[in-house]
Symmetry: C2
Subunit: 375 residues, 2 copies
Amino acid sequence: MTTSHAAPGPALAGSVGLVTTRRAVLTQHGPLVLASGARLDHVEVAYETYGELTPARDNAVFVCHALTGDAHAAGWHDGARRPGWWDNLIGPGRALDTERFFVVSANLLGGCSGTTGPSSPDPATGRAYGPDFPALDMADFVTVHRGLLDHLGIERLHAAVGGSLGGMQVLEWALQEPERIDRAVLVAASSRLTTENIAFSAVARAAILEDPDFHGGRYAEHGVSPRHGLKIARMMAHITYVSGTSLAEKFGHARDTSGSDKRLAADFEVEHYLQHQGESFLERFDALSYLHLTRPMDYFDPFVDHPDVVPSTRFGLVSFDSDWRFPTAHSLRIRDRLAARGVAVEHTEVVSPWGHDSFLLEPPGYHDLVRSFLG
Amino acid sequence: MTTSHAAPGPALAGSVGLVTTRRAVLTQHGPLVLASGARLDHVEVAYETYGELTPARDNAVFVCHALTGDAHAAGWHDGARRPGWWDNLIGPGRALDTERFFVVSANLLGGCSGTTGPSSPDPATGRAYGPDFPALDMADFVTVHRGLLDHLGIERLHAAVGGSLGGMQVLEWALQEPERIDRAVLVAASSRLTTENIAFSAVARAAILEDPDFHGGRYAEHGVSPRHGLKIARMMAHITYVSGTSLAEKFGHARDTSGSDKRLAADFEVEHYLQHQGESFLERFDALSYLHLTRPMDYFDPFVDHPDVVPSTRFGLVSFDSDWRFPTAHSLRIRDRLAARGVAVEHTEVVSPWGHDSFLLEPPGYHDLVRSFLG
């Protein structure tokens, strides 16, 4: 992975084979002012692009990642064991066709994969922000990515596409800049979390915040991290990303022991699976970033925050029938609120056994829907 | 609360006002042999009784408590702030009418409320069992309560009644002793957990087992306890005990802050509520008991363990339409398996907004159903 500052650099020549991650500094001409009024004096944003920007600059598609995603949406990094997280959707001939579109994918503000976040150095002290990193709002995620688009010289987006948190960001963006996005594709998204959604999120955060190794967010200074809490948070959240049916089909009641040989420690295959999910998450995610990226979802309420905005965007919504994290009712709420404002919006519920995580997979019809929404 | 050893003592004279907790030693004539083959040389069981046993000893109803319940099912302990957990169901004129029935309620083996468990002294060492307490099976819960009935001189039960884990214990009991229980009432119970049920249980246990203060189960010797893990386990489990609808109606999106004043720490009312649930649980529950009482549910598979048993018991099953921990499908599975063996069984799904915890509450029709199942 190479990094170049400031300059967008040439787009990759239609290839999503080996991918370059780029980084831009957004605050060369002044601080970033957040929705809370807090400011960040130095903001960098890490991003990748796939495909070529037309001379008319009218074929850009912005991809917004989900909670634990990152800018690496497609193609292969040198030496990587797996491609980008939406590689099945982005590429030559795929729904986000890189022979046609210039796809931009950027890390979220507050994350831990290149864009400024709590583990980045605070220019005021030279040390990591840690707990001094300001609380974020969905609007701030958008502000940073708007800045990236400006930096890349892209005035209008052919489309913005996102799943889960990414879809929520797309909605916020379309309401923040009602003339900038021609098409918006929101997959398994929400315009307002349920109380139960917030409850799950609250327990995940409590697991981190109350881990003795959290040290009030100064864990890096103590040379530790709240691994226990972050692992448990991830294990719990993972259950909500999949369906009961898919867990049953994948693992059933298979276990290591048999008959009357039973034990308290992990024994069932589903337990080993969740342990693996939790452990591997620790290698790639930061606890403070987890707090900062989950919390804006709890507060998200864009139709209240932007009461009179009527975006020119055409919306395409997808939900999955087995998704119990953001069930179809969430998408219908978005559809109804947009339609009530006279905005063009279509919604389709896709049959899929895999729950919320279906947005990362290929249930029949899903990718074709995204393709058609992109026009 | 007074404690008397060995002797059952006189039944309370029809009153469930102030309650006496009694304790019996079950292993005066030999060790208790568990399903795993492990043995316990000294087992005490704490129990309460309400109502009077008839001279014919034919009016006993055994109440089996759920995961975090205890023997104190009804009436008031001296100075208590709340009555027993099933006080709305047990008492004079109530569904479990103490003017008619002699109700027995006993703590589970492995628990932390008087019956022998991991925090009880190991006769071999004089210290608490801690991690040396043997892994339990649903059958062991029954074995201990069978012993209590023998000790009380009760040959047949008019009925056994239980909710959630308690209902599972009743089912195991009816299959273990097919001629001893005339009527069984199983409320919001299961005969086999789903993979998703096991997954939630696994994360709760992981939160405890991997808390640095767990110390391999020897936390008492270290003068600490895995408070963080136990609290998170309880907070998470609590979400599964209630319905999304009831959380939404009770707490909505109410929060301490308003407008753009947002924070990472607890803010929404539902967060404070879960925090309270977690904190107050620490005052009354032990982490090792939590492990020992949850695990037998994961392994529970009584129709496989007792393949040819046809109990003479008449079964009454109740499930609640908003219960997503043990949805109606669990009760239907029990009904169908029993019916296939020619056992008399009835099932009713009760409409209730409160999810799994409905078994502790009074949704319309529920208590009348229990009353009618009791004949």
